[in-house]
Symmetry: C2
C-alpha cells in the first residue's frame, strides 16, 4: 500500500501552502513544458493518475476535453478537488495506484493518460505502466512528470557546500540502487521509490510505448532570478516524458 | 577541431595500457550490453565512428559483416589499427568527426552505425547525428556508448568522502550547463563536451530516430568484486543507446 503522506496533517498543510497548490498549474514551473507534450484535447477522453486538487482535470475540460477520470489516493486531496469542481464530466475516484485495476474501466478507452509528480511514489510501477498501455487507445499518449532520478537517488538528498570553493553540489550516491527512499520534505519520513532513468525508459519500451518527448526541466534565467532557483542548474529536479502507444 | 588527445604521448601510452586497449572488446566491461543492441551483422555494411585500434571493426567482420568503414581522428591509433588488420573489407580513414562529411560516402548506405566512447568529445554533435541519419539505410540502427552525463557534468569530477559517514559520493554540479569540460584522465587537460541526457535523446528524436535501447551500464556483483568497482553503483559511467532510422 502506498504511503498516503498527503493525508498527514502537517504535510497536507504545508503542501496546501505551495504555489502549485494555491495557483494550480500556473504555480508549477514545469507545467508549460509538460503541457507542450499534450495533444489538442478537444473532444478527447483523459485519465489523470494522482490528480491532487484536480487542477489538471478542470484545465483539461476548460480546453475542450470530453471527459476526465481523475484518480487520487488521498481523501484530503479528493475532498478539496470535489469542492472546487462543478462538472459531471470529471469523475473523481479514490484508489491506490499501486493496487488499482485500471482495465476494469475497459480497454482502449483513453486518448491521453496524464500524471504529474505521482509515479515516483509507486513500488508497483511496472504493473501500472502495463495497465496504462491497456487502457490507452492505439496512438494514444502517456504524458507524465516525476521527480528526476538524480533527485531521488541520494542517501542524503541535500546540497553540500564545498568549503574550498564555496560551490554547491548535489551529493549523488546510490544511483543504481533502486527502491525505497525516505526523505524529510514538508514532513518527516516521506517515502518515495527511486528508479534510474534507464528503468523508466525501459519500462515504457518493454510495455510497447514509443518515446516521443523527454525533458529534464530547468528554469529560464528569468525564472531562476525570480524564484531564487540558482541551484536548479546544478542538478535536475523533474523528468518529463511523453510516450505513444504503438 | 576536436582535441586529438590520443596523439598526446603520455595519454596514448597510458591509454594503450588499459584493459580495453590490450584485450579489445573483452576488456571493455560495457561491451556485452552494447553488443546486445546490435542486430545479426551477417552481410551488413557498417560505419564505425571513432574506431580506435579497430577492435570492433575486426570483430564485426569476424561475425560476418560485409564491410566496415572505420573513422578515427588519431593517427597514432589508426597506425596501430592498420598494423593489426589484414582485411581489405575494413577501410580505415582519418577524419575529425566534428568536421567530416559522412554523406560524401553516399546516402542510405550503412545498415549499422556504431560508436564507442567517442561522441562526448564532439562540439558539433548535432551535425554528426544528422549525417548519421543520412548515411543509414531506412530501418538501420545507430548504436553508441558515451560517458554518462552524470559522469561528465561536474566541475570537479572526483568522488568525495563524507567525513561523518565515510560514504563516497559524486559531487554533481553544473548538470544543466552544457559545453566544454577539462579533466585530468590519463593526461592533463583532456577536453570533453558535456550534454544532458535530454539533449542526447532530443538530438536523436529531432533527427528522426526512434529510441529502441537505453542502458546506464553497471557491473554485476561479480564484476564489481573482481575489479574493485564498488563506487560504480553510486553513479553511472556509461550511457548506451540504440536508435533506429524511421
Amino acid at each position: 500500500m502506498t504511503q498516503t503522506i498527503y493525508d498527514n496533517a502537517k504535510f497536507f498543510a504545508e503542501y496546501s501552502a505551495l504555489d502549485r497548490s494555491i495557483n494550480g498549474l500556473d504555480g508549477a514551473p514545469e507545467w508549460p513544458r509538460l503541457r507542450s507534450f499534450l495533444p489538442d484535447l478537444q473532444g478527447l477522453d483523459l485519465l489523470d493518475l494522482g490528480c491532487g486538487f484536480g487542477w489538471f482535470a478542470r484545465w483539461a475540460r476548460s480546453t475542450g476535453a470530453n471527459s476526465v477520470r481523475a484518480i487520487e489516493i488521498s481523501q484530503n486531496m479528493l475532498s478539496r478537488a470535489q469542492a472546487m469542481t462543478n462538472d459531471t464530466n470529471i469523475i473523481y475516484e479514490q484508489a491506490d495506484l499501486d493496487n488499482t485495476k485500471l482495465s476494469e474501466h475497459g480497454r482502449d478507452i483513453y486518448d491521453v493518460v496524464f500524471s504529474s509528480l505521482a509515479l515516483h511514489y509507486l513500488a508497483n510501477l511496472p504493473a501500472l505502466i502495463q495497465q496504462v498501455q491497456t487502457v490507452l487507445k492505439p496512438g494514444g499518449t502517456f504524458v507524465f512528470s516525476i521527480e528526476h532520478p538524480i533527485y531521488t537517488a541520494p542517501s542524503r538528498a541535500e546540497f553540500v557546500t564545498d568549503v574550498e570553493t564555496g560551490r554547491d553540489y548535489w551529493p549523488l550516491d546510490s544511483y543504481q540502487k533502486e527502491g525505497l527512499r525516505v526523505t524529510d520534505w514538508l514532513a518527516e519520513g516521506v517515502q518515495k521509490q527511486h528508479r534510474t532513468v534507464a528503468s523508466y525508459i525501459n519500462l515504457l519500451l518493454q510495455a510497447g510505448f514509443q518515446i516521443v518527448g523527454f525533458d529534464e526541466w530547468y528554469p529560464t534565467p528569468e525564472e531562476a532570478e525570480k524564484h531564487g532557483w540558482h541551484r536548479v542548474l546544478e542538478r535536475p529536479i523533474f523528468l518529463l516524458i511523453s510516450a505513444v502507444k504503438k
